[in-house]
Symmetry: C3
Subunit: 324 residues, 3 copies
């Protein structure tokens, strides 16, 4: 452990300057003010990129982009974010074949990389790896997902997308669809939404229900929660339909999987029954959950959602380096 | 498909401004004027690099360098090209192990990457992949080769090298040697040369002759075409000798391969019979087709050809981003 | 071979301007003046990074970072070094799956990459690969280790760390511990230290003694050399304790390995007997040679040693490009 490290993982309510030097490892670390702040900075980042493509805000700063498992989408998004901020990147992928295969511990790898870089983005297959990294690092760690655990920047970009698509988060009816048991993106987003005045409906087959612990967090926060097995029951009232992948491997009986797969596919017919002003979201990649014919629907927000990922990550990088 | 996409893949004869926002997916899309234009811009790029190493022409722009199969040479060339233009790169290699392995479609991957990048370079093992990518993308796609199909930037750098080595392309006798049946680089170059007043001789074993369709394109364009099995027949009259690899796998009878291999090796002895002012080219990598003792011959143009690849790719990147 | 190449691998005593255009392939190429010069430039680099993070010294220059075998630590260090100098990087990893697998020779790969880049860093599994690369390249080659052969930049960073930790190199007692037979880092450092007024003790099990040839180089240079099997014998008199990994694979009898492993572990108890002002070094990664509880000891210099690697590589990159 690094004795000179002075930071605390959790963020104080005094949000603005408090991001400086902090780690981003869990959606639970944010207050409502923190979230409002990041959403605001992300908006500024979008306006900069739209106008001039890039800034020199992080000129002279280096990001170590450390991916222990591949994730083209997330790693590309962080690389682009750092580069559009004028910073530089050390891309480290397929790391399993290197020092690590020589048996090095994660803390040693992290403490080595912070010798070269100013901030470390970490994707790791094991739950809790980001917290371990954060404990040993004196530079900020941003989790890019650890196992079935947290994926906080995904939660933040989803939140920012709702705000950006609908102009507000409070007062909305959000439905989450698909594998709610194993999908870490729905867990992260649900936890963030508990800080907003939202109504949540969880749509999934019986065997893929949201874990009880997360449902309890929502209820304790005073949020109305409902569960159903049919998308049809919510399609005409939702402001946000957040769809996730249902993986074949989760089912013992393959016929059951096929039935669920078909029942949860979002089609143009289904979208015809949805509100005129709503957002259809998906963390991507999709494998059949949303029909390609829906892509041209102006309510299909998933590619804008991808783009928002870059703005949110720009905001976080700038914030933890004290340059937001 | 992206409904907001307004571009057309083919280039209009109004070449200069017409590259802006276009895809580069086939050598057949270029007019003679287009080629003259790119050759001219490549020349400017070379002069910039020779004088000052790099420019800020593409400062603030991001290239996604998406390679579904490895190609050190081509990917390095594009990375260097973008960097020397002041732009930034998202390097994406070994992508098969990521989103794609989760079953994502190429259009979805492309539409995700264009959320982060301003231009996408795509190398893909399947014929036609670049055209598919171009159809769905709203940002420019530059093909870096798709299967045994097209490799348009290789054709352009070969053309530029001929111009650069000999000061002209019109009026030349160009001989292509080796596996003309399967070699996509000869296909691309031959197609480009049909727009110039060139005489072409195709030198290969019987079983590796140029496909009839490409030969017809040359003849229809009014270009004299000859075929032979012996390099000796052309060595003293060619202005350009373009050598390609003969792959062992193409032969059922291994003795036949060994005979061909030896018959087509370019040696100092053979070069002694060539013109004083001519260019020996090879797309590289070579595996014995050109003897190492030829490397010091001033007519050995293959490493300059490599370098020209960077200038041509700089020209294309600048052109499709409207900054040439 | 490149006929236009004018440089010589060895460095003349006229050290300052003599780095320009040279290769860095062996610790034996340096004079004492060369070393003093690089240590001085590395110090300047550190002060730049500490003050402002980065410079524009190598703006417009491109580094090809060519790793034929993975080494996260070394490759990240070179990438960060080049980026903090304002230069650009072509990262080439997992290259075995590309041109090389098509049978291309190392000289051809090198001569291709120098078409795109201004300097090449090469990590290769075969002894002597760097010398071969240097012979064919007209741009500078910096070895990042070739097989069990040399790893010159590691030697230089170790030397710089001793200077930086203790304010001098002359007059010190340096002990090297562990697998001295196979460890190329101890070989490189020992050879560099022969140019300084140092006393060396080599601590290892019988079967892992320093090769006789290297011991002879020390003795010929007039340096006092001692050998022992017990760390306890030197712990209270050393100024530098340089620890390396003992690999299980080296032992026929596994019980022997376990005994050695325990005998050579550096613990807080052992450090309690060391001088107050000394430096505990390790090239990392470690796998149990230094107990984690030692990390907080101010004499534990190994992470600063990592950081110094970046400064030394910045110094070398700037020097061979004539910008130091």
């Amino acid at each position: 452990m690094n004795p000179t490290k002075k930071k605390i993982v959790g963020l104080a309510p005094d949000h603005a300057q408090n991001f400086y030097g902090r780690d981003i490892v869990s959606v639970m670390q944010f207050s409502r003010d923190d979230l409002d702040y990041i959403v605001g900075v992300a908006d500024e980042m979008r306006s900069i990129v739209k106008r001039v493509g890039a800034t020199d805000l992080l000129k002279g700063y280096v990001l170590a982009n450390l991916f222990y498992e591949p994730s083209t989408r997330t790693s590309s998004s962080f690389i682009a974010a750092m580069e559009r901020l004028g910073g530089m990147v050390i891309p480290i992928h397929g790391v399993q074949y290197s020092s690590v295969s020589k048996g090095e511990s994660l803390p040693d790898t992290i403490r080595t990389l912070e010798c070269y870089a100013d901030v470390i983005v970490l994707r790791h297959p094991e739950v809790g790896a980001s917290e371990v990294a954060a404990r040993y690092a004196s530079k900020p760690i941003i989790s890019a997902g650890d196992g079935v655990g947290e994926h906080p920047t995904q939660g933040l970009l989803d939140l920012y997308t709702i705000q950006s698509e609908l102009g507000t988060i409070d007062g909305l009816h959000v439905a989450m669809v698909g594998d709610l048991k194993n999908g870490r993106t729905v867990h992260s987003l649900a936890r963030l939404l508990r800080l907003y005045d939202t109504r949540l409906t969880f749509v999934s087959p019986e065997i893929l229900r949201l874990p009880e612990a997360i449902k309890q967090q929502m209820i304790e926060a005073g949020r109305p929660v409902a569960e159903t097995s049919a998308v049809e029951q919510v399609i005409d009232t939702v402001d946000v339909l957040y769809v996730t992948r249902v993986q074949k491997e989760r089912f013992a009986d393959l016929r059951e999987y096929e039935a669920v797969k078909d029942a949860y596919e979002i089609t143009p017919d289904l979208m015809a029954r949805a509100r005129e002003h709503m957002a259809l979201m998906h963390p991507l990649p999709r494998v059949g959950e949303i029909h390609y014919d829906v892509d041209d629907d102006p309510r299909a927000a998933y590619f804008r959602q991808m783009e928002n990922g870059m703005y949110v990550r720009m905001a976080l990088l700038a914030a933890v380096l004290g340059k937001a």
